[in-house]
Symmetry: C2
Subunit: 346 residues, 2 copies
DNA sequence: CTGTTAGCGCATTCAA
DNA sequence: TTGAATGCGCTAACAG
C-alpha cells in the first residue's frame, strides 16, 4: 500500500461520509448535488447527519478534475505599480466581478503583474481558472502582446477598457465610453468660454486615457487650442510640481483638464498655491468621480465612470460564455455621464 | 468507453505531451518540475519542444488532487458595503498578499461577504483553498462567531486586525499597533494645548477603530475630556453634516480626531465651511496616511498604517504555516508612526 | 535515466 | 432506489 503525502487528518471526503452513513459514495454525491428524486428520504437524512457530524464539505479538487472546470475566474492586472490595487478604478472592477461571481458559486482569483514577462511566469504557468479578465496598461503594442499571450491559454478572455486585437478569437472587450465623456467635458468648457485648454495625462499609458484624449480633442475642436502635459501619476507631489512649473513657464490656460480626478486635484492645489481662483480664473475638470473626489474643494466637475458595473458585466458575460460556448457580442460599451461640480463656471 | 463532459479540445494534458515526445508521463512530469538530475539532456529538449508545440500548461486540478493542496489562499472580507474593495486599507492588504503569494506560485482568491450568513453560503460550501485570511468588521461577538465558523473549515486561519478568540486553534492574529499610534497622536494634541478632544468614529464597528479609541483615551488621560461622535462613514456628505451639527450645537473643541483620514477630511471641510481655521482655531488629526491624504488641505497629521505590509506578512506566515504544520507565533504586531502635517500647531 | 503502478475526490455511466 | 466501475491529470514510490 502506498502512503499518500498526508492530508490533514480532519478533511473528510465523500468516501468518509459514505462509510459513516453506510451507503455508496454515489448516493452521497446525489444528496450533495440535490438530486432528491434519486435518493430515498430516510437515506438522505442519514447522509445529512453524517455530513454534519464529520463537518464534510465537497472538495473542489475532485469535482474540478471530473468536470473539467475550476469554478474560478481570474482578474489579471498589468500595472507598473506593485500596489496595483491602489488604483481606485481597478478595485471597483474587482469588487464588481467578485460579487457577481460569488452569487454563481465562482471564485475570483486576482493577480497583478508589473509587466508581461512576470505575467507569463505566474498565471500562464499553470491552468487554474476557467476564464480570464485582463486589465492592462502600457503602450498599445505591449498590451496587444499581452492579450495574445493570454489568448493562447485556451481560455475565454475579457479585455477590460481596451479593444481586442483582431486576431484574438474568443475574446470580448468591455469598456466605458471615455471618448464621449471627455468630449462632453471639453464642450462644456468651450461653452463656458475656455479658449485654451491644458490636458494633463499620466506618463504611464492607459488605453482609457488615450480615448479621453481623443474625446477632448474632438470636444475643443478648432475653437480652443489643446496642450498636452505629461506627469508622473504615481507621485502626487510630482504631479503638482509638474503642473506648477508649466503654469510658471507657460502662463495660465483658461481650463485644465485632468485625465483623472487625482491629477485634477493636483491641479487645484497647484493653482491654489499660486493664488489663482477656480473657476473664476481657471476652470478645472477631472474624470471618474469616485468617492475621494469629495475630499478636495472646490468640488470637481467630472465624469462618472461605471467601474463597478464594468466588473459586474465582465463576470456575467464570462458566465454566459462558459455556458453557451461563445460570447454573445465582441464588444460592450457602457455609458458615462458628466457630473456637476463647482470647478467650472456656472 | 465513457465519454467525458467534453474538455475544450485544445487543452493538452501531460499524456498528450508524453505521447508526442515518445516518453512516459512521469518523465514529462519530471521535466516540468525541474528535476533535471532525473532526465537526460536530449530527452529534456524533446519534451520541451513538445510542450511548446502543444501549448501545454500543467493543469492544477490534477496536481491539487494528487498533492492535496490547492495552491491558493483566500482573503475573506466581512464588510457591510458590497463594494468592500473600496476600503483603501483592504485594497492594500489584498495587494500585499497577492504579490507575496504570486512569488511562491500561490493564487489569491478574494471574496467579500456582507454578513456571516452569506459567508457561509459561499466559501464555506466548498473547499478550494489551503488556508484563509479574514478581515472582519462588525461587533466583536459577530466577528468572533465568524472566526469560529471559519476555523471549523480545517484550514489555517489568519485573522487580520483583530484578536483571535481563545478557543480558535490553528489561527494567527496579525495587527498593527493602532492603540499606540492613537495614543501618540492624542498626546501630541495635548502637548500642543488641546484641552477638549472630539473623536469621530464610524457607526459600523471595526476592531481597529476600537483600539484607536482606547489609545486616544490613554493619550488624553485626565488632561482633556474626550467626547465621542458617531457618523455614517459610507456617506461622506453625511459625515460632514454630522460633524457640522455637532459644531453648531456643542461649540468647538480644541481638537478633532478622525478615526481615519476620510473622516478627518470631512471634519476639515465642516470646519472650513464655518470659517474656523485649522490648526489655529482647531487642530485635526486623521489615521492611515494613504495616498488620498494629500488631496485635502491643510495636510493632515496622521498615522501611517502598514496595510500593505500586513498583507505581505499574512501571506508569508501562512506559507510558513503550511510548510511547518503550525504557526510560529499566535500574534504579530506591526508598528505605526505619526506622520507630520499642517493640521496641528507647530 | 526512464517506465509502471496506484490513487488522490468526484460524477457519469451502466448494472442491479 | 442504490451500487460498482471508470477515469479526469498529476506525482510519489518503486521497478527496471
Amino acid at each position: 500500500m502506498h502512503t499518500v503525502t498526508g492530508r490533514p487528518p480532519s478533511m473528510p471526503s465523500l468516501k468518509d461520509v459514505a462509510e459513516r452513513a453506510k451507503v455508496s459514495v454515489m448516493t452521497v454525491s446525489n444528496v450533495i448535488n440535490g438530486r432528491h428524486e434519486r435518493v430515498g428520504e430516510e437515506t438522505r437524512i442519514r447522509i445529512l447527519d453524517a455530513i454534519e457530524a464529520l463537518g464534510y464539505r465537497p472538495q473542489r479538487r475532485g469535482r474540478s478534475l471530473r468536470l473539467q472546470r475550476e469554478f474560478a475566474i481570474a482578474l489579471t492586472i498589468i500595472h507598473p505599480d506593485r500596489r496595483f490595487l491602489d488604483d481606485p478604478y481597478i478595485t471597483q472592477v474587482a469588487a464588481g466581478m467578485s460579487n457577481a461571481l460569488a452569487q454563481l458559486g465562482y471564485a475570483l482569483v486576482i493577480n497583478g503583474a508589473q509587466e508581461l514577462s512576470s505575467l507569463e511566469a505566474t498565471i500562464v504557468r499553470s491552468a487554474s481558472v476557467d476564464a480570464m479578465a485582463v486589465f492592462a496598461s502600457g503602450p498599445a503594442s505591449t498590451r496587444a502582446k499581452a492579450y495574445r499571450s493570454l489568448a493562447r491559454l485556451h481560455h475565454p478572455l475579457i479585455i477590460l477598457q481596451d479593444a481586442a486585437p483582431r486576431d484574438v478569437a474568443d475574446a470580448c472587450s468591455i469598456l466605458q465610453d471615455d471618448a464621449t465623456g471627455a468630449r462632453d467635458l471639453a464642450r462644456l468648457l468651450v461653452a463656458k468660454g475656455a479658449r485654451s485648454v491644458l490636458f494633463v495625462v499620466p506618463r504611464h499609458a492607459w488605453p482609457a486615457i488615450e480615448r479621453r484624449r481623443k474625446g477632448v480633442e474632438a470636444g475643443v475642436g478648432r475653437t480652443a487650442p489643446l496642450e498636452l502635459l505629461v506627469c508622473d501619476e504615481a507621485d502626487f507631489e510630482a504631479v503638482k510640481a509638474t503642473i506648477a512649473r508649466r503654469l510658471d513657464e507657460g502662463g495660465c490656460p483658461d481650463a485644465i483638464m485632468g485625465a483623472n480626478d487625482q491629477i485634477a486635484i493636483a491641479a487645484l492645489q497647484a493653482l491654489g498655491a499660486r493664488g489663482l481662483r477656480v473657476p473664476s480664473d481657471v476652470m478645472v475638470t477631472g474624470f471618474n468621480a469616485f468617492a475621494f473626489r469629495n475630499f478636495s474643494s472646490p468640488l470637481l466637475v467630472s465624469v462618472s465612470s461605471p467601474a463597478y458595473a464594468l466588473g459586474d458585466t465582465a463576470a456575467r458575460e464570462l458566465m454566459l460564455r462558459l455556458d453557451q460556448g461563445r460570447f454573445n457580442r465582441p464588444r460592450i460599451l457602457l455609458p458615462v455621464d458628466v457630473v456637476p461640480g463647482e470647478s467650472v463656471r456656472a
